[in-house]
Structure formats: C-alpha cells, structure tokens
Symmetry: C2
Subunit: 333 residues, 2 copies
DNA sequence: GCGCTCTACTAGCGCGCTCTAGTGCGAGTA
DNA sequence: TACTCGCACTAGAGCGCGCTAGTAGAGCGC
C-alpha cells in the first residue's frame, strides 16, 4: 500500500480511501491510484483490514457435509449475505470432525455471526456461542440460549401430510422418525396427534430412524421382512425427511412394491432430491431459501444491535403433492 | 493480551510465547498465565496473529455445493490438513455464485493454499490463481498453468468397467457422458477406444449428459422413448458419474426395466450414493480420501517450497462390482 | 480584505499480535 | 575469581491497514 502511495505520489491514507470507495478523492487521482495498484499487483490485505477496522463483516456457516438440505440452505445464504454486505465462510462437520471443531474454525477466522445448520449441540454450548458471536440456530431449538432460531412449524407440515394421506383413505400410516435429528421430536409428536385426531390411535407406529438414506433402507427392509412373515404392509409411510424417504423407496421398489399403488410415501424437506424421481416425491416443503434469508437477517440484525432479545422465525411448511402418494389400496376383506 | 500480561505480572511477549506453546517459559508462570487468561476470557485474535506472523496456515477449498463427490473429498481434506497443521475454509459455488466469487472469498480470507474441486475455469485463470496462492486443481486439467493436479486415470477406470461389461456379454453399451464436466472428455475417449478394442465400433453411442441426476433421468427417458418406437434398449450403460447413474435408474425401474436383468448400469466415482441402493451400484471408485490427501499435500508442499514445478498425481481408479451389473440379456434372435 | 465553507489530501496513532535482539541471573567450569 | 552457558523473561519494532484530526487551497459572499 505504501508502494502504491509512493508510486502514485499520494499518501497512504488516500489510497485507503480510494480502495474503500469513500468520497474524498479526486476523479483523476482515483484512477491513477487504481491503475498503479493494478500494475504493482496490490490487493488490500484482509487480515490487516479486519484488525484495523475491528469488524469482519463475515458470517460463518456450520453445516453437515453430507446433508443435502443443508446445501440447499447454503445456496440461499450466499445471496442474502452478499446483499447485506457480508462475507460467508463455510465449515463442515463430518463423521470425524465434530461441531465444536467446525465452529472454532469459523470463530478463529473472525466470523462475527454464526449460522448453525441443525446443530446437535446442547443448549448450554449454544448459549456460550451466543455470547461470543451473533448466533442463529436453524432447525434446532435451544431453550434459554442467547441464540436466534429459524425453523419451520413441524406440526403444521406433518398435519398437512397426514390429512392428505387420510383423505386418500389411508389408515395404517407408519412414521419413520428422525431419531435425535432436528425437528424429529416435533414431527413425531404431530404424527401421533394427527393419528389420534383421525381416530387412528390404534394404528400409531413409529419406526426409529434417522435423517439418512440408510435409515430409510433399513426401515424398508424391516417392513418387507414383516410382510414376509405375513404381517400387512402399512399403506402409507411418513418418512423423517426426503433422504430417508428415498432410501425407503429403494428396497420397496426392488421388492415389487409399487409406489403409490401399493404404498404411499411422503418425505419431508423438499430438498432437491425430491424432484429426482420421475414421478416426484410427495413431501413437505421447507422453503430453504426463505429459511436461509431469515437466518442471515437474524444474524445481521443482532450484529447491528447486540442487545436484541433472542428471536424466533417459524416458517409455514407446505405439502407438495407429487407422485409418491395416492389412494390407499383396497384392504383385503 | 496486555490485560492478561499485567494481571499475571509478566510481559506481553511471554504471554505470546505461552499461547504459542513455545519453550521459554517456566512451568509455574505458564500455568498462572493460562489461568488468568481463562478468567478474563482472553482468546488470541486470529487476524492480528496472521498479520504479525505473515502466514495464515489456511487452505481454502472451493467446491460445488450440490456435488456429492465433493463432499466426500471434503471429508478427506479436513483430517489431512489438520494433521499437517493447516486450517481449512470452504467456499461453495452455487447456480448463482460463480467460481471467481468463491475463490475471491477464500483469498480474501488469507488462504495461502487453494484446493479447487473440479474447477470449470480456463487454464489462464487457474494460472493466475497459481501465482497468487499454492493452487491445486482436482479432477480438472490445466495445461501450462502454475497449479498442481490431482486426478484419476480415467482411461484405466473406464477400461476396467468396459472389460467387465464385455466379459458379461454386453455389446450394445451406451455411454452417457458428463458434458464439459471434469474428466468427461477422457472418459468419453476411453469409452470409444474400449469399444473399438473389443470390436464393437459399430455400437459406439454417446448420449450427451452432465454430472447430475437430471441428465441421467433425461437419458433414461430418451432410451425408453426409443424403445417405445421399436428400437432395442442398450444392454448396458456406462454413466458419466454416480449421480447420473442414479438418475438413470429412476425412469428405468419405473418403466419395468429390471436392473441388472434387463440392463446393466455402471456409475463412476463411488460417491456415498453408491451404497444407497439395496443391490448397490457397480461403479468405478475414485478414492476420495486418497485424492483429498494428495491435494492437501501438494498445496502444503508448494507452500513450503514455492519453487516447485507443477506436479501431477494420477490415482488408479478401481472397478467396484456391486449389484447393477450382470450378464447381458439374451439377444432376441 | 476577511471569514466562511467545501473539496482534496496528509500525518500519525493504534488494532492485537509475533519476533528479533536483547537483559539478568544462577549454575557449571577452568 | 572470572568466564561462559542456558534459562526465564522483556523491550520494542513491526505486520498492513483504518481512522481521526487536521492542513492547504480554491471559491464565494459581503
């Protein structure tokens, strides 16, 4: 920077002004300085900039590398952050790299805001983070913690899905849950409530699962094994999320169970996977872009006003009926 | 830091030494300083640290948010980088966020090394990057550019797959290519060569595609439409990658084409998708972990010795036979 | 002529740390 | 005793910027 200043015959301060695009430099000088900088190959150094300015205007996003819905969210985070003048840094969790590590990496690179996609951490830890940076938890509640929350109204989504299935005549509706995955508890609860409400309390059945394809495959195998022992298949399955639904479809289709003729399957998320099947997956859409925008705005708002009380955005999910749900098959008399 | 120094009754320099875990501080003092720091809630500031040290020991990884194989690579990059004492920062490309932006974000955060997963940029641009940071391109050639290269021997992989199929009796083997995707050109070429080598030049057929599920679905529809017009289905398909293979399977299965009885399908990548199907996808494994490790080491080596000539790691892919490939169906006489 | 404002520009401190070149001191050696 | 050595520790100069307070000079009204 000093070199540029000297070569352009101005002070360092003016170079700084020009590179920050502030008023206070003549048209001509501005051009000359920029030209010289380009010649020298000068680029402002971010670390020094941060240090001097005290602010980084950077948001850190923690996500799970293999979670498709997260990538949808990320795609929504970038443009909104850019619009508000913030940088975005990503840090992933993998089977061998826990959340704490991922978060420390972000904090270590001076992220002022933290957007945690479906964190698995306990509220106490989140609260701690909330005091170190403007923290937003997506899809995971953190009661009492100093963090903002963005999630969808799981109850509403499940209710819509269940109403849809019941309307189609289904009675033996099974739920593969998402284990300790975010939103799973709520979805499970809403499933049970819906079954009761529709007078199907006797048919309530929750198969423990997770938000992975594997869990769907396993559940499918379980159901098929039961069928082979003479038990009836459920006529409909409400999966914990799309990945689980997709996994479930694999063994079913393989075994000749036709969807939706023999069984209806409903997913959750409307991740980009849902479009993949030629007939399309009936699913509950969580608007990833909208969630992402809320998360970014929460973080930014809090950065501009740290005193803000924790806020919560509850987005309405919406049932998207595609090809994997249809009328219940005739019950054998 | 000054506060800690004062409260512990030592100089700032000593605090610095202690926090960097260097020799030169007494056992007792060390403990006292750490205790005081903990009380005050002091954490070393990374920006200042970078600034003062002149090095960041940070690698930036550019990846495509929706590309499953990239997430496999990332999972391999983290541990290797940590082992070598480097931090990792991720920046994703999305449909609305080009590679240049993603890379600038990384550079802006002082990444000294750049690992580009399947960059789509021209060699000229890569060369430019190569001069700004230790750059490694994964899966994409960049002739003449100052970057290291990690890729797999596409030819060998395709040859193995083709040999496997031909051995199973297949003759009408179609290739859905990966468009301008990384490695596609090589795979296409190797497919053609293999067909010729097996005396199947007349059956060569490349369906233009991409490394996405959508392209697989489209190709599947195309083939089915042809069948409906009376043309024979190919007995085997070599897909551009796993995602494409998976997409292809959807319409086929739906249409009653049983895999592998009626048609064999071979993917490429062995991304974690491949295990998803109950019968498993026959695919060509590119060892993601190994590729990741090479990439990290290349970057680190170059950082420690910037004069290094561009290097290239060519990894041998390996055919993994799972359930989607089987003997060719009897040709109608 | 004076005071005023406005634009274009500069001096120099400070951000929080690292690092080089020391100082002081007790133990070991000749 | 005089010396070297090694250890624990310190002083202080940067790292590359941003920012506040300021100056010089031009233009303007009275």
């Amino acid at each position: 920077m000093a070199d540029v200043a000297e070569k352009a015959g101005v002070s360092r301060a003016l170079v700084s002004i020009i590179f920050r695009d502030l008023p206070g430099a003549g048209r001509e000088t501005r051009e000359r300085v920029l030209r010289v900088a380009d010649e020298i190959g000068y680029r402002p150094d971010n670390a020094a900039r941060l240090l001097a300015r005290g602010r980084s205007r950077t948001l850190g996003v923690m996500f799970t590398v293999h979670q498709t819905f997260h990538t949808d969210l990320i795609a929504g985070i970038y443009p909104e952050a850019e619009r508000l003048g913030y940088d975005v840094l990503l840090s992933g969790t993998t089977p061998g790299r826990g959340e704490a590590k991922a978060v420390e990496a972000l904090l270590g690179h001076r992220c002022e805001g933290l957007i945690l996609l479906a964190p698995d951490a306990e509220p106490g830890y989140l609260d701690q983070l909330g005091h170190r940076a403007a923290t937003v938890s997506v899809a995971r509640r953190a009661p009492g913690a100093q963090v903002d929350l963005v999630h969808s109204a799981e109850g509403k989504g499940v209710r819509q899905a269940m109403d849809h299935l019941v309307e189609l005549g289904h009675r033996r509706i099974v739920h593969i849950d998402g284990g300790r995955g975010p939103g799973s508890a709520e979805r499970r609860r809403a499933y049970r409530a819906a079954m009761r409400r529709h007078g199907l309390a006797d048919h309530v059945r929750v198969i423990p699962g997770a938000h992975t394809e594997e869990s769907g495959i396993e559940a499918g195998r379980l159901l098929l094994a039961e069928r082979d022992r003479g038990l009836p298949l459920p006529t409909a399955v409400l999966a914990g999320n799309d990945r689980c639904a997709l996994g479930l479809l694999m063994p079913l289709t393989r075994a000749g169970v036709e969807v939706p003729r023999d069984m209806s399957v409903v997913g959750y998320d409307d991740s980009h996977l849902s479009h993949l099947m030629p007939i399309g997956l009936t699913t509950v859409r969580q608007d990833a872009v909208l969630m992402a925008e809320h998360a970014v705005r929460f973080a930014v708002d809090r950065l501009e006003n740290p005193e803000l009380a924790p806020r919560e955005a509850v987005l309405d999910p919406k049932l998207v009926v595609r090809g994997t749900s249809g009328p219940a098959p005739q019950e054998p008399a």
